[in-house]
């Protein structure tokens, strides 16, 4: 479709849909380049609506890295909400990128980020709206190269056939190598498979079509075969030795989106080793940015955006080495204009209260802590050892320092959890509220956010079964019964959504058919409560004669080959297994900042570490290799 025709039709459609500002681009700090002024055109897509996609930091980083190259342009793509999708399909409008309104199909490369699994049907909807064949095998030289990245793709198998290439790990450096390989291939004008073969040589790139799983009778994996000489048997995650300068010229949406703020990643990776935590395992090792770099990024970004909020992002703020210094300096930087600073994931200790007190406006939002479990036994199993005493002391301090609301995050469904452990969650919440009542009386409130644990690949719990529907419902109804009354609020997850997340997380390649069928039957926006449809998924499973409980409720044998075993996060499977065994013995493991216990990162990335010595990377230094001098030279 001609660009002008598209714009004319849009002008008539937009006034008829909800929040038309989602579909027009042109925001402050958008980067627009003339189409013909560059060699390579990249569409960066978040497979959900604009409101969710714009704040995504991963895509923001890639957008800036790519647009810095004079021979490349990168534009943004989001999914239309259902009303706009209906209008686009009715009018025959293809999915277009926001900056130039060019149809996605005309781009050279389409990169889709997948931070979580419940976006998979949206990927198919996105490809379909763009007019791109769903499966890599059906695409021709006239289709863009379709690649994926993000945390979910550490198990790429359920979506393997839909992508030409999948980026495992951090994208900052690899994205430019992909561009180079693409440009070389394009000049040579050779078949598409040659491009994939070149990409396969890049460390961190997985070409699904170059592999084939073989199954046992019982549906577990016998082995994974490589079908191409360039396809190595293990895909090692890419990582950057030092976090590059953070983006600061954030796009400022003209309409409200989920997070309207400057986000600066202060540290990547986590050393705590909570056994349920996917992010904590796949983002190792810890790399920090310096206080100076963060502070100047905040200053630059506020100048460039005018945002009213700054978020300092990491998996565990309290673990950042100079957190107090950082928070004080960022607070100074933002003292004008009543800006707010948000600081997620604080440890349960009084120091956290001191940190939060430095942040203006923080009292309005309530104080969030994540004990995750309520009994000592459970906390040992998940390796999040904090004492109940410490939690109650911290809570009392929070209430007495001006906060009226505490939000506590818990998870039900941890391995070997009993109903008594769940009862303990309810009791603990009431005890915390009672502390609040002692200091500020009836003004004290407590919000318990109780999600359901989903076992994730590449974690020590990748072997365990997810709770069944009955178990989840029994636990939730106990909580609903116990946690009501004045001052108490409880939120929980829809158990059906939990199960979907569970089968998608540890699925194999056979699930691709289920996902495609579910989408054809109407599944999309599965992450949206009001759009998710469990029956469709059940139907799709039965059409393909697969049993969802094989993926969700099955306890795996210790020696089972997992569908994702050829994807290597740097953390060894043997290490994960030892952590799993330790959990069975209720033994905890220290934070590895206090002593490396060889999770696998250091030996696997020893050269990288050696070449990037220094304090920013929290694994121990690797000494320079002694230079071997041949004997005859000494003689």
């Amino acid at each position: 479709m001609e660009r002008n025709t598209l714009l004319e039709r849009l002008e008539r459609i937009l006034p008829t849909v909800e929040k038309p500002g989602r579909y027009v681009g042109g925001e402050l700090n958008q980067i627009y380049k003339e189409w013909n002024s560059v060699k390579t055109h990249v569409a960066l897509a978040f497979p959900d609506i604009y409101d969710i996609g714009v704040p995504n930091l991963g895509l923001t980083i890639l957008y800036h890295i790519l647009n810095e190259r004079p021979d490349v342009l990168a534009e943004r793509v989001y999914l239309p909400w259902v009303d706009m999708e209906a209008a686009m399909r009715r009018e025959g409008l293809p999915l277009y990128a926001l900056e130039s309104k060019t149809p996605v199909k005309q781009f050279d490369i389409l990169g889709i980020t997948l931070p979580y699994e419940t976006l998979y049907t949206n990927v198919l909807n996105l490809l379909d709206l763009a007019g791109i064949p769903l499966r890599s095998s059906e695409r021709t030289i006239n289709d863009p190269l379709v690649i994926a990245g993000g945390h979910a793709v550490f198990n790429p198998e359920p979506i393997a056939p839909f992508f030409d290439a999948i980026v495992i790990g951090e994208g900052e450096e690899i994205i430019l190598e992909i561009i180079n390989a693409y440009q070389e291939w394009k000049t040579a004008s050779s078949p598409r498979v040659n491009l994939l073969a070149e990409l396969a040589k890049i460390e961190g790139i997985y070409i699904p079509s170059f592999y084939e799983p073989e199954y046992h009778e019982d549906g577990t994996i016998r082995s994974i075969h490589s079908l191409h000489p360039n396809a190595s048997l293990q895909i090692k995650k890419r990582l950057v030795a030092q976090l590059p300068k953070p983006p600061t010229r954030f796009i400022v949406p003209s309409i409200g989106v989920v997070h309207n703020r400057v986000s600066v990643e202060i540290m990547r990776g986590c050393t705590r080793g909570c056994r349920f935590c996917h992010a904590g395992m796949v983002t190792r090792p810890v790399r920090e940015r310096s206080v100076d770099e963060i502070v100047s990024a905040v200053r630059e970004a506020l100048d460039a955006t005018g945002f009213e909020e700054v978020a300092l992002l990491s998996l565990s703020s309290s673990d950042y080495t100079h957190i107090l210094d950082l928070v004080s300096r960022v607070a100074d930087e933002t003292s004008e204009h009543y800006l707010t600073i948000s600081l997620p994931s604080l440890r349960i200790e009084s120091f956290s209260v001191k940190l939060m007190e430095k942040l203006r406006g923080s009292r309005q939002g309530g104080f969030t802590l994540a004990p995750e479990a309520a009994t000592e036994r459970m906390r040992n199993i998940i390796n999040k050892p904090i004492s109940t005493r410490q939690l109650l002391d911290t809570a009392r301090e929070i209430y007495s320092r001006g906060w009226t609301n505490i939000k506590l995050y818990f998870m039900i469904g941890h391995p070997s959890e009993t109903i008594a452990d769940v009862q303990a969650i309810a009791d603990l919440c009431k005890d915390v509220l009672a502390e609040g009542r002692k200091v500020i009386g009836k003004r004290a409130t407590l919000h318990a956010g109780v999600s359901t644990f989903v076992p994730k690949p590449h974690t020590p719990f990748q072997w365990v079964a997810c709770d069944t529907l009955d178990q989840i419902e029994a636990k939730q109804s106990l909580l609903k019964r116990e946690l009501r009354g004045p001052g108490l609020k409880l939120t929980w997850n829809n158990p059906h959504e939990t199960l979907m997340e569970a089968w998608l997380s540890r699925g194999d390649r056979r699930l691709a058919n289920v996902i495609e069928t579910a989408w054809r039957l109407g599944a999309k926006f599965d992450a949206w409560q009001d759009q998710f449809n469990f029956e469709i998924w059940q139907k799709a499973f039965s059409i393909h004669r697969l049993d969802p409980s094989f993926y969700t409720h099955r306890q795996r044998a210790e020696d089972e080959i997992f569908p994702w075993d050829h994807i290597f996060t740097g953390v060894r499977k043997a290490y994960l297994l030892s952590e799993y065994r330790a959990s069975l013995l209720e033994k905890t493991q220290n934070d590895c900042r206090q002593g490396c216990f060889a999770c696998g990162i250091l030996p696997k990335y020893a050269d990288l570490r050696r070449n990037h010595p220094g304090n920013h990377w929290k694994c121990p230094e690797v000494p320079r290799r002694p230079v071997k001098v041949p004997m005859e030279q000494i003689a």
Partner: protein
């Protein structure tokens, strides 16, 4: 403290954002421009800015107005204008900045009527349309309902005129009442003439203000 009135055009693509969003766009624009905006007192201090009159989603506007209070008494129109012009905000074009007495009435209460230009996107039969327009203006009352309330649209139409453009395209120029509780909306007039209100581009071109 001083009070300034900014005259500006709201251009594409900002026609697709609502008033609350436009308010935020202004807050951030002023912050980026390092303008020392005054804040309201209280628990949740808010920047003191006030728009003239809400604009329906989808409308462009010209000669729009917004009042901004700044803290230092030393600020002048010129300093303000230079700061704004040195900072970009896509979709907002600054026309002028003037100083307003602190105690003058609030901007929305000064607006009496709004002027609109409505450009029809499809070619029309001019004489047929002229006929429909004359029938419309000849009516004594045009009863319509908006949000389950009926009202008479006719007295809200102060002036309306058909302007031929090139190649069978036309525009309407309208002056509609914009007093509180008596606001005429151009898309309702368009649909009253039997034209698809979505097949038109709407521009509010200015205000008629009370002395």
């Amino acid at each position: 403290m001083r009070r300034f009135r900014i005259q500006y055009n709201k251009e594409s693509p900002l026609q697709y954002i609502g008033n609350l969003d436009l308010h935020k766009v202004w807050e951030r624009y002023l912050r980026r421009a390092h303008i020392p905006v005054a804040y309201s007192q209280g628990f949740h201090p808010q920047p003191k800015i006030q728009q003239a009159a809400p604009l329906p989603l989808g409308f462009l506007s010209q000669n729009d107005l917004i009042d901004v209070w700044v803290e230092p008494d030393t600020w002048t129109e010129n300093v303000f204008l230079t700061h704004l012009q040195a900072t970009q905000q896509p979709g907002i074009q600054i026309l002028s900045v003037s100083s307003v007495p602190l105690n003058s009435p609030s901007l929305p209460t000064l607006i009496q009527s709004s002027l609109y230009r409505v450009i029809l996107l499809d070619p029309v039969n001019l004489s047929e349309l002229n006929h429909r327009l004359s029938l419309l203006v000849a009516r004594d009352s045009i009863i319509r309902s908006r949000r389950n309330k009926t009202y008479d649209l006719r007295p809200l139409i102060e002036k309306i005129e058909l302007i031929p453009l090139q190649e069978d395209c036309v525009a309407f120029e309208m002056q509609l009442s914009a007093r509180e509780g008596a606001t005429g909306r151009p898309e309702e007039i368009i649909s009253e003439m039997g034209i698809d209100p979505y097949a038109a581009r709407y521009i509010r071109t200015g205000f008629i203000m009370r002395e």
